[in-house]
Amino acid sequence: MVDGFIANSLAEALEIRATQDVVPYAGGTDLMVVNRPGLTYLFIGKVPELKRVFVDEQYVHIGAAVTFTEAIHNPDVPTLMKEAISRIAAPAIRNAGTFGGNLGNGSAKADSVLIEFATDAKLRLVSAKGERIIDVDKFYLGRKKLDLAKDELIAEILLPSKGIENYAYTKVGGRNALAISRVSFAGVFASEEGKITNIAAAFGAVADTVLRYKDIEEMLLGKTIAEARELRQDYLQAYSERMVLTRGRVSAEYRKGVCMNLLGDFLTKFGI
């Protein structure tokens, strides 16, 4: 092999990352579409520390090099995440594509990333010097711009292990298989003693990053379903005013219309 590095452990990968100008390669399904000449890859797809899925008190930990197929078959991965990733591309791509790659590619169309936004997931980033845990929305600085230092790797995704059982998820693509999201939506709902405690709504594929407006969500937090129903129109109006979408494969108007419909369906599903 004339170039490239194959890491067998996380320590080895971080050492190479710290000293060489390399592009981390996990599943390769996004990188190889372009395969920009002159890149030196750091192959991390088989690093054991990045392949683990486990649950602790607070989080479901999903290693960055876990493939979508592996996650679909893992009983610890939450249903909402499984529903989204089982619609990514087709089996051969899901056999290779990873959670870390979906994040690292930086696209707002990444189907697993939408779920991470909707569930307030955190990411564990590691380097030879240490590690840091950040909220997924802080990781995205803009279109294809990530808060990831040159010596860092994405190590794992931390999804909340509770409170994401009630959700709405829709992917709108041009066809069933091998479809890049044109618009995607994930909403998570939770209530306690009749009051809404969570009403997260995230929109994918319609702007430079996944969109989520926590201040608008606050309008309905602490409200009963009946109170929320009274506020439905104001809430939808607030989203409609805030969402300034870009044109992509489809027009901005179409995207906006679909986003508002899916948001409305989400409210309706939970009686609002």
Binding site: M1, V2, D3, G4, F5, I6, Y25, G27, G28, T29, L31, M32, V33, N35, L39, T40, Y41, F43, G45, T69, A89, A90, P91, A92, I93, N95, A96, N176, A177, L178
Partner: protein
């Protein structure tokens, strides 16, 4: 850095080129496995499907550095197996092949499915083949061929 070692259709090989080279190109150009077709080079058609360590992959989306110590099967190797004979017969009997371009990938996708799930439902067959595009047959004949192969080859998978 050392060569990339892997097994290709049962034979050990050492690749001396770049770790960033595309598996699809290397299989075709270096090892003359021309059953592996290049349809799109972006993971959207499945014509370049190969089986790596028992799992279906699009070889266009794999860099050589990722296959170190792996075992790769293409149609050149698979055609020597009894399982292939059953699939070949089923595809032939149902005219599931027209131009043939997608067929090596389609057959390997069927193998990947049957090796995990020897008695798939029609829905499972359609799902597992959903990444393999065919512009001739309209898919029904292919799906039926896989269904028949599963029946005929009972015990082989």
């Amino acid at each position: 850095m050392a060569d990339i070692h892997f097994t290709l259709n049962g034979q050990e090989v050492a690749y001396e080129g770049s770790a960033a080279d595309r598996l699809l190109d290397v299989l075709r150009d270096t090892y003359r496995c021309t059953s592996v077709k290049c349809g799109c080079k972006e993971g959207e058609c499945g014509a370049c499907s190969v089986i790596i360590d028992g799992i279906l992959h699009n070889s266009c989306c794999v860099a050589m550095g990722a296959v170190n110590n792996c075992s790769i099967v293409t149609m050149e190797g698979y055609r020597e197996t009894d399982r292939f004979k059953v699939l070949s017969k089923a595809f032939g009997e149902l005219s599931a092949v027209q131009c043939g371009f997608c067929i090596p990938g389609m057959v390997l996708a069927a193998e990947a499915l049957l090796s995990q799930n020897p008695k798939p439902t029609e829905e499972e067959i359609r799902e597992e083949l959903s990444g393999n595009l065919c512009r001739c047959t309209g898919y029904n004949a292919i799906v039926n061929a896989v269904k028949n192969a599963a029946k005929e080859g009972d015990g082989l998978w």
